[in-house]
Symmetry: C2
Subunit: 479 residues, 2 copies
C-alpha cells in the first residue's frame, strides 16, 4: 500500500486548488504532454483513445442525419479570409500566418485555418449550381490553429482537434432546422455518451460567432461551478453566400442565394469529461468513452493459476463485448489499483488465490468506489450490466450537481453574492440591452452563457437595470 | 442512351492520353475539386469515403500489431528541424514557414510539419527514461505539407493526408524487425484490400529517406507502366537518438540510445487505385474500399411496384452486410448506369417490371462488364459471393498486368529499348555504384525503385558499367 499512497499523494486535491488538480490529472493520467511548441500539446495514447471513441460515436450520429465527410485545405489565402467583414475581424487577430513556401516568399500570405467557413464558401461557390445540388451537408475532422495567449491542455490551445460541419440549403427555414438539429445531436451526445447534462440555448448578439446571424450553444457546468461552452451551432443566413456569391438556380429558374450553417465540437470535450466526472483519485471515464472499460488485477499473481484465471476472466469479459485488459505487470496490487483509478477505468476486477478457491471475485466501481462480491459464473453479465448502470448514474450525478449549483438572482446584489460565494449557473432576467451584459461582464467577470430554449419568468425586471425583462439568461464564469 | 453516351464521351481514353484520363476520372467521379490555394485540393465525399475505408482497415491492422495512436503538433520550431543534419537538408527546401502569430512576428519561425520525426524525437526524449518505457509504437493520422512545384491530385499535392508511425526500441534488432513488420502490413494491405500487387524491397542509398539508415518500400505498377512508390518504412538506427539525446537506462543500469523507425502511407493510395484498376468508363473500386458496393437501379421506375421492389432488394442486400444504395433519382437508366460506372461501384443490380414478373434481376460487374441473370430469391447470396470474387479477380488481373509488364535487361541498350517501347518494371543487375544509378536516371529518366527481397541472378555484370553485379534492382519511370 506504500506504492499506492505515494501515487495518490502526488495529486493536488480538487478542493484545495482546482486548476492544479486539473493539470495533475491531465499529466498523471497520461493524457497529454507539453511540447517545445508553446501552447501546443502532445495528445498521448490514453488521451487520443478517448478522442477516437468520441469521433467514432459522434461521426456515426452525424451520418445518421445525412452528413458526408470531406477534407479541405489547411491554408486560407488572406484575400479569402477577408471576404466576410465580421468574420475577418473576429479571427484575423488570432491566426498564424505562413509567409514562405520552401526558400521563397509567397505572393500572398496564407493563414492556417482557425475555422473553415471561407474555404467552404469558396468551394460551394463552384460546387453549387442548381437546386438539385442542395442541400450540401458536409463535415470535416481536422485540426485548427488560433494564436491564443493563455493556454490550458484541452481547454484552450493554439492547435486543437475538432470537427466542423458546414452546410448549404435552399431556404432559410431548412438552414435553421439543420442548425437546431445539430445542436440536438450535440446535446444528446453529451448526455448519452459523455454523461454530461447541458443547457441548450441561444447566444446573445455579444457572444455569437463572427459572421453568424444566430449562434446556438450547449453549456455544461464543471465540478468547480464554472461553465464550459461545449459545442456551438451557427446559422449564417445568406450573409456568407452574398459575400462569396454562392447562388443556385431554383425550380422557377431564378437565381437565389443559399443559406448556410456551421457547427463544431473539439478536444475540449476531454477537458469537460475530466472536470465533470473526475475526483481526487484522478480521472473518471464514462464507460462509453473509456478506452479500457474493465481492468482485471490479479492478486498474488505469482501463485499458481492466478494469471491464467485472470486471462480467462479477461477473455470472457471481452467476448461479452467489453474493452478489457489484465494488468499482469510486476507492480504491487496497490500500485495497480491506484493507476487504474488515476486513468479512470470504470470497473476493476480483483482475482486472487482465495477468490479462485471460492469461485468468486471482487468487482469495484471507479465512479463511487462500491465493491461487489461476484460469483465468477456471473462475471460477464454483472460487468456488462454494471457498465450500463455506471453510465446512467454518472449522468444522474452530474445532473444533480448541475441542478444544485444553479441559482436564481433577481437583482445585482443577489447576482454578485451568488457569483462570489456559490459558483455555478445563475438564472436571471435580462432587458436585452448590450449595456447590461457589458456591465455584468466588467463588474463580475461573468458572461451570458445562453438564453435557454426553456424560458422561465423569474421576475418582471432586468437583473441589472430594472427595466422590463425580455429574456431569461444563464450567467456564469466560464472557461 | 443519349445521356449515357454524353457522359461517357466526356472522358479521354486512357490509351490516348493517360494523364488526361486520370484527371478526367478524378474530376468526373467527383473525388476532388481544385481550390484557391495552389497545389491543395478539396477531397469530396466520394473521395473521402474511400480514405475513411482505407483508414479504418489499415488502423485495425496497425492495432493488431500493438500500435497506439497519438497526436503531435503541426508546427516544428526551426531549431528542432535542424537537429538532424541529413533530415533538415532533405526537407528544409520544401517546407512552409509560419512567421507571424496573430499580429506579431514570432521569435522563432515554425515550419508546418512535412513529416514528424523531429517532433517525435523531442517527445520521446522526455517520455522514455527506462527500458520499461520501451518499445514505443505510436502512430498519427494527420496532414502534412510539402511545398511542391508540380502537383497532381492525390499523387503530389502541397498538403496531403497520411499516417506516420514512429517507434522507439531498445535494440537495433527490434527496430529492424518492426521496420520489416510494418512493410509487410503495408504489402498485405495493398494486396488484400486495394487488390494491388507490390514488389517489396530496399531502397538504394540514393533513394532512401533523409536521415534513415535503411528505407524499405512497396512499389506498385500503374496501368500505364509507370511505378508508384506506395508506402515506405524506415530504420533510423540510433542516428536521431544521438542527435536528440534519447537515452534509456537498461536492465544493467547503463545508459543506451534507442533505435527508431518510421513508416507512412498517404492519400496517394487513392491515386494508385485509380491508375491500377480504372478503365475508360471511369473508376473501378475494389469492393473492400468501395463506399457503395452495390447500386440498385430501377428500370421504368414509374411503373407500379418497381421502386418498392428496388427498396426491398436494397434492404435485403444491406442486411447481408453490403454497402448498398438505390438510385431512384429522375435520371434515365442509361445515365444512372454511366454514373455508377464512372464512380466505380463494383456491382449494379437492375430491376424492372418484367424482371419482377419473372422473379429475377440482372447483376452487372463493374470490373469486367459481365452480366448475370439471377433469381431474386438468391440475390443476397449471389451479390455477397460476387463481391468476394471481384476482390480476388481484381488482384489477379493486376498481378497478371504487372507480371506481363516486368522485363529483364542485361545491358544499357536493352534497358533503353524497354524503357522507350515497353513501359513497365525493368529488372537488371547493378554493381552498387552510385555513378551507374545516376547515369541511368540522367540518361533514361528511370530510377531504381528497389532492391527486391526476392533477389535473382539475371547476369553476372552490372547493366550499366559491366563490372561485377552485386544486386538485382527494379528500375522504372515513376510518379
Amino acid at each position: 500500500m506504500a506504492d499506492n499512497k505515494k501515487k495518490v499523494e502526488a495529486i493536488t486535491s480538487m478542493d484545495v486548488d482546482f486548476a492544479q488538480w486539473y493539470t495533475d490529472v491531465v499529466r498523471k493520467a497520461e493524457l497529454i504532454d507539453y511540447t517545445s511548441v508553446k501552447g501546443c500539446m502532445v495528445i498521448k495514447p490514453a488521451g487520443y483513445a478517448i478522442w477516437e471513441l468520441i469521433q467514432n460515436q459522434l461521426d456515426a450520429r452525424f451520418k445518421e442525419t445525412g452528413v458526408e465527410n470531406v477534407y479541405l485545405p489547411m491554408f486560407i489565402p488572406e484575400s479569402l479570409l477577408q471576404k466576410e467583414k465580421d468574420h475577418v475581424e473576429g479571427f484575423a487577430p488570432e491566426v498564424a500566418w505562413v509567409t514562405h513556401g520552401g526558400l521563397n516568399p509567397l505572393q500572398e500570405r496564407l493563414c492556417v485555418r482557425p475555422t473553415s467557413e471561407t474555404l467552404f464558401c469558396d468551394f460551394y461557390k463552384n460546387d453549387i449550381q442548381s437546386y438539385r445540388d442542395l442541400p450540401k451537408v458536409y463535415n470535416q475532422w481536422c485540426s485548427v490553429v488560433r494564436w491564443e495567449k493563455e493556454t490550458r491542455p484541452f481547454l484552450r490551445s493554439r492547435e486543437f482537434l475538432w470537427q466542423e460541419g458546414h452546410t448549404a440549403h435552399a431556404t432559410a427555414e431548412e438552414a435553421e432546422e439543420r442548425t437546431i438539429q445539430m445542436l440536438n445531436v450535440y446535446a444528446d451526445f453529451l448526455e448519452q455518451v459523455l454523461a454530461i447534462p447541458v443547457v441548450k440555448g441561444k447566444k446573445t448578439d455579444k457572444e455569437k460567432f463572427a459572421g453568424a446571424e444566430a449562434t446556438y450553444t450547449i453549456e455544461a457546468l464543471m465540478h468547480d461551478g464554472k461553465a464550459l461552452q461545449s459545442g456551438t451551432s451557427h446559422n449564417f443566413g445568406n450573409g456568407f453566400a452574398k459575400a462569396f456569391g454562392i447562388q443556385y438556380t431554383g425550380k422557377d429558374n431564378k437565381l437565389e442565394y443559399v443559406h448556410q450553417t456551421s457547427w463544431g465540437m473539439t478536444t475540449r470535450l476531454i477537458g469537460a469529461i475530466i472536470m465533470v466526472h473526475g475526483d481526487d483519485n484522478g480521472l473518471v471515464l464514462p464507460p462509453k468513452v473509456a478506452p479500457t472499460q474493465v481492468m482485471v488485477v490479479p492478486i498474488m499473481q505469482k501463485k499458481e493459476g492466478v494469471l491464467e484465471k485472470a486471462a480467462e476472466l479477461k477473455e470472457r469479459i471481452k467476448v461479452a463485448g467489453c474493452r478489457v485488459k489484465v494488468d499482469d505487470s510486476d507492480k504491487s496490487p496497490g500500485w495497480k489499483f491506484s493507476e487504474q483509478e488515476m486513468r479512470g477505468i470504470p470497473v476493476r476486477v480483483e482475482i486472487g488465490p482465495k477468490d479462485i478457491e471460492a469461485n468468486k471475485c471482487n468487482v469495484v466501481r471507479r465512479d463511487n468506489g462500491e465493491k461487489l462480491e461476484v460469483s465468477i459464473d456471473d462475471l460477464e453479465t454483472v460487468v456488462t450490466e454494471l457498465l450500463d448502470k455506471i453510465q446512467v448514474e454518472m449522468l444522474e450525478r452530474a445532473r444533480a450537481h448541475r441542478d444544485e449549483h444553479t441559482y436564481v438572482a433577481t437583482n445585482l446584489d443577489e447576482l454578485q453574492e451568488i457569483l462570489d460565494t456559490k459558483p455555478g449557473f445563475v438564472k436571471a432576467m435580462w432587458c436585452e440591452d448590450r449595456a447590461c451584459e457589458d456591465m455584468i461582464k466588467e463588474k463580475f467577470s461573468a458572461t451570458s452563457r445562453c438564453m435557454p430554449f426553456e424560458q422561465e419568468t423569474l421576475a418582471d425586471t432586468c437583473v441589472c437595470c430594472g427595466k422590463p425583462a425580455k429574456k431569461m439568461v444563464y450567467w456564469g464564469r466560464a472557461y
